[in-house]
């Protein structure tokens, strides 16, 4: 019986992973439909909760949701089964593609197609960024951090400097905390 649920979790999430192109948010309604509606593994409220938390934790929201559903249903082992299930299809597909992509790219017309595709990729990233800006909290602090990060990253990229974006994120996190503490300090000062 126990074994059965792990297999079912794995199988279910394998299917979800296999049929979701582009990843990320496209998976959420499908996970919700299958896990909350059909299988009744979790409630719709749980699903909403986990999506909100997942947005502020690292990693793709779809993977976070799968881990959570598996955990709710069958503990840590269930979480492993669901996560493995959702990741495995993309692993297998990319692994297969990577075996012949390089040879494929040696064909002239394929290489030409990819020159066009590269242009599309830059534009898609730009669109994603614009979408993120729209969703961003519109406070002076957010705009300042956003502007500084954008300027710093642009300079780093254009001058091909060696500075990791992860260090920049760490700095931004610390600045966020300092700004919060400063605000609290001021409030405290006024109260006293």
């Amino acid at each position: 019986m126990k074994k059965h649920i792990y297999w079912e979790l794995f199988q279910t999430f394998f299917k979800i992973g296999l049929f979701t192109f582009g990843g990320g948010y496209a998976m959420i309604p499908i996970i919700e439909d299958i896990c909350a509606e059909k299988k009744q593994w979790i409630t719709h409220e749980d699903m909403m909760n986990v999506t909100i938390v997942a947005e502020s934790t690292p990693g793709p929201v779809a993977i976070n949701c799968s881990t959570f559903v598996g955990y709710r249903q069958a503990g840590i082992a269930g979480a492993v089964a669901a996560t493995l299930g959702v990741v495995l299809p993309s692993f297998l597909v990319i692994y297969a593609i990577s075996m012949f992509l390089d040879h494929f790219l040696e064909i002239t017309w394929v290489a030409n197609a990819f020159r066009g595709i590269q242009i599309a990729v830059g534009l898609l990233i730009l669109r994603a960024a614009i979408h993120m800006v729209k969703l961003m909290e519109k406070s002076p602090f957010s705009w300042t951090v956003f502007g500084c990060s954008f300027a710093a990253m642009a300079v780093i990229d254009l001058c091909a400097l060696n500075f990791s974006s992860i260090s920049m994120l760490l700095v931004a996190g610390v600045v966020g905390i300092l700004f919060y503490l400063l605000g609290r300090h001021r409030e405290g000062g006024r109260k006293v």
Binding site: L18, T20, F21, G23, G24, Y25, V53, A54, T57, P58, G59, P60, V61, A62, I63, T67, F68, T83, P89, S90, F91, V93, I94, Y95, I97, L101, T108, N112, A113, F114, G116, I117, Q118, I119, A120, V121, L123, I125, A128, A129, V133, E137, V145, F146, G147, S149, A151, M153, L158, N162, S164, S165, I166, M168, L169, A172, G176, I177, F179, L181
Partner: protein, 185 residues
Amino acid sequence: MIYLDLFLGFLRVGCFAFGGSYGAIPLIRDVVLSYGWLTEDSLTNMIAVSESTPGPIMVNLATYVGRSQAGLLGAALATFAVVLPSFVIILLVFAALKAMWAHPVTQAALGGLTPCIIGIVLATGLTMILSNLTGAAGAVGIRELALTAFLAAVLFGAKPILKKSVSPIALILLAAVLGVVVYGI
């Protein structure tokens, strides 16, 4: 040692991949270019392939880079490393740390991180667009400029006019066809 490098490189990406699939692209670009695992061109090609195949971009890129550097074991390690932080953190948050995650200091750190990653993604997108404008001769190419303008018009013009946004796969397919035509002649 390549296995350790792959593991640590992608573990770092996994730890800081805030802001969804696209948020991870600048981080992966960073790691991959600094180790010299991929060229800018092949990374961009792989982003396109990842957009057109199942699964989150971050996982797809980890698998691809891992395999290109160290075969099956490399692919498995890199994929495992990139997923591990999301797995551990979401479990920790729900099992034990829900209060800590909701704590104002944690939220304040996220309040700094989020606009930062958005700025980074925007800069990355614009840099990629600019570097794609350069043709074979090293100067701004006419064909690149025309393709960029046309694809941008399709991508950003579809929503206000057709009330429907263009899916990444649709744009990639269109770009592929245009690439074959424009560069084939």
